[in-house]
Symmetry: C2
Subunit: 361 residues, 2 copies
């Protein structure tokens, strides 16, 4: 099923969002792959600190003062002193696609020793359909050299539009604090040459380190929540967004792919600091997952915004009982949608995937 | 989460079932890996033909006359002149595990050029838990060098017992006749170094070429249907079994893994012959898949046998409307269970996986 056309650059259709840049080598190393694109840098901490961007990059930079100025009181929904602030960049972008990456992620090598153009692989992933309704044992049937295997229903081979491409990490794996503490030396050395669709009805832990998505299809649900300064948890920003986008993609008949491309994750964050950020999340998650597994969005929700507003009501009602934090989060989810719609007045269009109804639970 | 103990051979707990052996090199090439095990060869065609088994192998061989003698009138549930007859071997085995493989499957090499001990990998897969309730982005968390990633709920990390390990094929991919006709030269050259659990609620196309399962956990559902001589279809034997075992595994809280190990599939079967065998299946499948996706087994079904009998009722009622073949198949499913229970009188024990209830739809 693979198309052999060269992968388009999507230069004018894709923004790169980076939460902050502490590491000066980062953009130098990525220059061959990222310089053609426009960068949106969202500074996560002290606005007076200066972020140096190497010559030749086209970028815009937002610090907390900018966020406050642009969103006014609605700036409350954007996290401070936490990389969750990156979602502000998703909101102010005017492009169709976003690639977001952390500044401790470098260019990885494939098993032949060649540097991996991660963004090119993300573009391949997101421009080819997903297959969430039936599992293909040879993985993504739209890759070169692959196809649907015997027994795959022909009516499902068209697939559904891909909304999200979730890339992985070599070297430092994305472990939680307890696992980091128990296995400080474990490194991910296994290059798995696969892309696959996460099936409908299945939740996954979405990591924001190396992620691409289609703003038009799923942008308004890509909210990274309330983390960091003044909040009881951290390191659940991308997870939260992942659970939200997955139930909405499942409802709207959109696909989420995971696997290639790899980046090289260079630095393990401090497990003690991480434990402090995570420990409430580790408890709460035991309620959050069954909550998301049980969500049933009504047929009437045909846009991402409608789905997200509906989801926020459930969060308030059900998770609000777990902790008051979730009442605050439900409010922030609504504020986020209001802010999104103000900055993106034309994005309220209903998604008319032909599978919208058929694919709904 | 990996255990670093050496993989046990399971010499006294595993039988190898082969539908027939036309290729004399087959067992020679596999000798280093398969000779320690007992073989059950089920001859698919003319009982007068002699199957040569190389010296040194311990085996039993059943032809059609043996099947008729052992099962009497119940032999009607075992396919003739079709490799689907292999399931008779599952029934007469007295071991806990079955590895089944086709005689056109040779030993594959990994990317380093080393011959792959497929059975050793199957044993690793089946002895470690599955994780059908939440997707782990670094694939099987029980492999060496892998674990559960950040955001994976701790309560789900124990996993569930693995009932099936589905291996893949390098070289000739397992395509249906239309795809074979369209892409006669496509070869699978991609070695994907992954094992993963197929999530709960997701169906997949199970191929019988390179498959291991736990008879105690799922054996009575591993029925390969009515194919070949006197039947309107072929090449849906393993698919049918795959859909049946998956809905039953989902209901009983058991896991199905796919991915490694690879075998080298040497020979593409004739696409014209395949088309004749498949074409009704290609139509029927469009009803079969929604049928299996909608199956909801009642809580009262706590053994594989109970689940399978319940499933046969649904097949008769729902798929019987698609074609009379499915009425005959539903009968054969019941006959199969009766024959299984006669040959395996102690296998009716209820599965008491702790997730039995929680994991049910």
């Amino acid at each position: 099923m693979a198309s052999f056309a060269p992968t388009p650059l999507l230069k004018d259709e894709l923004d790169i969002v980076i939460p902050t840049i502490r590491n000066l080598d980062f953009l130098e190393m990525w220059r061959p792959f990222l310089q053609p694109y426009h960068l949106i840098i969202v500074q996560d901490g002290d606005p007076t600190k200066v972020i140096k961007v190497p010559e030749g990059y086209d970028y815009e930079l937002y610090n907390r003062n900018d966020i406050n100025r642009i969103l006014g009181p609605k700036a409350s929904c954007i996290s401070f002193k936490d990389s969750a602030c990156r979602c502000f960049g998703y909101m102010v972008s005017k492009k169709k696609y976003i690639f977001t990456i952390d500044d401790d992620c470098f260019v990885a090598k494939d098993p032949s020793g060649k540097y991996i153009n991660a963004l090119e692989q993300h573009i391949k992933n997101i421009l080819s359909p997903s297959t969430p309704l039936f599992f293909n044992t040879l993985y993504d049937p739209f890759r070169d050299g692959a196809d649907f295997v015997r027994g795959y229903p022909f009516s499902l081979r068209e697939g559904v539009p891909t909304a999200v491409s979730h890339g992985l990490w070599l070297n430092i794996p994305d472990y939680d604090a307890p696992t980091q503490l128990v296995k400080p030396l474990e490194r991910n050395t296994r290059y798995v040459d696969a892309v696959l669709t996460i099936p409908k009805g299945t939740l996954f832990p979405m990591c924001g380190m190396n992620l691409t998505f289609d703003r038009d299809l799923i942008g308004p649900a890509m909210y990274f929540g309330l983390m960091g300064d003044g909040q009881p948890i951290g390191r659940y920003d991308d997870m939260w967004a992942g659970w939200c986008i997955k139930v909405i993609c499942d409802h709207l008949g959109l696909g989420v792919k995971t696997g290639l491309p790899y980046i090289w994750h260079s630095k393990a964050s401090n497990p003690f600091v991480n434990l402090r950020k995570e420990y409430k999340g580790i408890f709460w998650q035991e309620d959050i997952i069954p909550f998301f597994q049980a969500i049933n969005l009504p047929k009437e929700c045909t846009t991402v915004q409608q789905c997200y507003i509906e989801l926020s009501k459930h969060v308030r009602e059900k998770l609000g009982k777990v902790d008051d934090y979730f009442v605050k989060l439900a409010d922030a989810m609504l504020t986020w949608i209001q802010a999104w719609d103000e900055l993106n007045p034309s994005s309220k269009v209903a998604i008319s995937s032909k599978l919208t109804n058929g694919a709904s639970k």
